[in-house]
Amino acid sequence: MNTATVVAGIMVLAITLYACTGIADYGAGFWDLTAGGRDRGRLPRSLIDNAVTPVWEANHVWLIYVLVLCWTGFGSTFASVMSTLYIPLALALLGIVLRAAGFAMSKDAARARMRHLAGWLFGIGSFLTPFCLGTAVGAVLTGRIPVGNAAGDEITSWLNPSSILVGLLTVAIGAYVSALYLLAESHRHGITALHGYFRFRARAAGVAGLLLGIGVLAALRFDEEQMFDRVVQRGWPLLLISLALLAGSFRLATGVRVWLMRLVGAGGIAALVWAWAVAQYPYLLPFSLTVQEGAADPATLRWMIIWFVGALVLVVPALILLFWLDQKGELGEDPTTSRAPTTTGSAQT
């Protein structure tokens, strides 16, 4: 295995982690958006808020890391993808900013109207971003990105059945995993009222995801047969693992063994991402540019690997600490106090 493949592997790893964390946060936003009116949605929303707040920024950074890895390690691929897919990626960006703004504002917005607006921004961004990122993946997967500065079609590259289905699948994936996470959270906090609520949502999203997954395969069969063949011929063990794990998490969605349920669910998503990666290998841009052809200078790749190892040493302990403290209940804003300030308290100006 050479340096270019290793860096490509690191990139796939980062995408995997983003899919299991960042995309799941968007899923939480999706449930926030669909939680219903102010009164009915209050309890699930406060749980979502409580669960996502301490970790969303850390989860989000994986995306930035994927971007910088791509332009450093595979500059021409990055340039080709970004310039051809300008529209969906700019829209994904719009969603990211809307959601982050909504999230940052809602913490301290004093008036209910503004909190309501922030909730909408959060929700809309939560749909827009994974959908657009998904269509971009679909565009790459179906070989619609030629090498060059905006060399592909700006519209049809992502506005086609295959890409749209991948976009919807991404939304469903986020919705499914986050429903599992939120179910686990409701168990951890002992909020029984939400157990059935999120179990139902997890299962609904799971069914939708399965149908969309079949849809993606069918679309791929007619759209880009060569890629379809690669997915089913080399990707099938991973697809099977993914299916088995997702089915397992579906089954586990009673929420009793919460850690196992989350782990199995995330593992299913990870296997799906790797099935895509394996099907596409050795192409960065099917079927015009391979990992070797598109790779940066070996010196750069070597340093990227060295830095990645260094980063593991730095980040992994910190990340474990964050999740550990979070799960121990040492972190997290309290929804009732941070959202509805009362007038108690001594003078302190």
């Binding site: 990211i96 900013v97 913490k107 750069t300 972190l331 309290d334 929804p335």
Partner: protein, 465 residues
């Protein structure tokens, strides 16, 4: 605008405008990301050491504001990392392998910062006080490391290094470490780091000075002024030295940028220092402005006999496209710096005599406006660096028009308008929230939970059931 820019592709202008808007927005949040954690940790340390609840309250509130600015900065930083490809594929596509490594480093450091900030902000209630402090302590260092990485990438664009180009324009022999430690890095980093601490320091202090002016002269406001103002004023004289070194280095490394900054039209010795004025690119002359004989040569090389190359030495198509803007920005930056230097000395003398916040109203008004002033200087300094480098995106190697995306100009104008609208609402939102936050603090209608800096909070289920 000269004929050269008119010949440029139609998408260049919206791409540049969008990049400028997003960078100028992002740069407002960077100083807070770097310096606010330092201030909050100083307050936290003071609070724990002396069992000082006022200092702890300050630390808690500053961490709260740091969290908000960090979140908005994260969002606008994401915009920038997308835009590197959305707008400038010709830069990242070709040179990403040379100067991309610092971005990968910054990505990880930012990640680490996000984790530590989350632990710190959300750990106030239940973590052990000293554990909480120690977990927060790495934040300023990680932030400085992140700034180092980004400045390194920017410095590389000004002083490209770490690769060779063969006859066909192909990049060979990439040395990413050489690219990181390029020649412009030390002074760009030093200059920006000090600027960041000054900007955040003066701004935070100015907020409490306004309260002080309104008669809220308690210990809370005193500390809120003294901690950040001390940091900012101590660094102001330092910035003069660093800034001067920077200018001299730019004079040597990027003569065209220096000529634009100081609006030197004809090369020669005994160059005058021209304050403001208007540059005419057609005739290469300056209209108006105040001229101080010989000062420019003296500042550049320590003697009036220093030879300063002018814009006449640069072929017309390679001259910075907006000399007047670069020159004005430079004068504004230096002007603000000089004014702040006066403020710093005033504060030193007054504090040394009375050991308290000076009571002179002129001083207080002066200090109240210092926050806005430093940010004007930060923006102006950014304009000098970035607009002064034009028409090059990579100095003397890659022209900006060759790096821009081929995406349809109409699409770019639409996205520019959307981004502008979005950023306007983001700015309004941020200010509204920060104001709401301070109003709530001022009205002291905090919940007991918020007032208890350290201490257990009710669990979610206890509250909900």
């Amino acid at each position: 605008m000269n004929a050269d820019l008119l010949a440029a592709p139609a998408q260049l202008l919206p791409a540049r405008e969008q990049m400028a808007l997003t960078l100028m927005f992002h740069i407002i949040f960077v100083p807070f990301g770097i310096a606010l954690p330092t201030m909050m940790l100083i307050a936290n340390y003071k609070g724990l050491k002396r069992n000082d609840t006022v200092a702890l309250t300050l630390a808690r509130r500053w961490s709260h504001a740091a969290g908000l600015t960090f979140a908005v900065g994260a969002a606008s930083g994401t915009v920038l990392s997308f835009e590197m490809g959305l707008l400038w594929p010709g830069l990242t596509g070709r040179f990403g392998e040379v100067f991309g490594l610092p971005f990968a480093i910054e990505g990880i450091l930012f990640f680490l910062e996000a984790i530590l900030v989350a632990i710190y902000i959300y750990g106030w209630r239940r973590l052990q006080p000293w554990t909480h402090f120690w977990l927060g302590l790495p934040i300023p260092f990680v932030a400085i490391g992140g700034a180092f990485s980004i400045i390194s990438a920017n410095a590389w664009m000004n002083m490209p290094a770490g690769f060779t180009m063969d006859a066909n324009g192909q990049i060979t022999e990439v040395d990413p470490i050489g690219a990181i430690f390029n020649k412009a890095l030390p002074y760009e980093f030093g200059h920006f780091l000090v600027a960041a601490y000054m900007a955040a320091g003066f701004t935070v202090a100015s907020i409490y000075v306004v309260g002080w002016l309104k008669g809220r002269r308690d210990r809370y406001h005193r500390l809120g002024i003294l901690i950040p103002l001390t940091i900012a004023t101590v660094l102001t004289p330092v910035q003069f030295v660093v800034g001067d070194l920077t200018a001299v280095a730019v004079f040597k490394d990027q003569p065209a940028k220096f000529a634009a900054m100081e609006v030197v039209t004809e090369s020669g010795t005994h160059q005058p220092e021209v304050l403001f004025g208007r540059y005419d690119s057609a005739t290469n002359t300056v209209e108006g402005g105040v001229s101080i004989p010989g000062l420019n040569s003296w500042l550049a090389g320590g003697s009036v006999d220093t030879y300063v190359p002018g814009l006449d030495q640069v072929p017309a198509e390679n001259r910075p496209s907006n000399v007047t803007i670069v020159h004005w920005a430079f004068d504004v930056m230096v002007g603000v710096g000089t004014v702040l230097l006066l403020l710093a000395f005033w504060f030193f003398i007054a504090y040394w005599r009375k050991r308290d916040v000076p009571n002179n109203r002129v001083f207080l008004w002066f200090a109240a406006s210092a926050g806005v002033l430093t940010f004007i200087a930060v923006e102006a300094g950014w304009i000098v660096t970035e607009v002064g480098r034009q028409p090059w995106i990579v100095y003397n190697i890659l022209r900006t028009e060759d790096a821009v995306t081929n995406t349809d100009a109409g699409t770019l104008w639409i996205s520019f308008s959307l981004i502008a609208l979005l950023y306007l609402s983001l700015a309004i939102g941020t200010i509204t929230v920060l104001r709401a936050m301070s109003r709530r603090w001022r009205k002291s209608d905090e919940t007991e939970d918020e007032l208890a800096v350290y201490g257990p909070r009710p669990a979610l289920n206890e509250v909900e059931s």
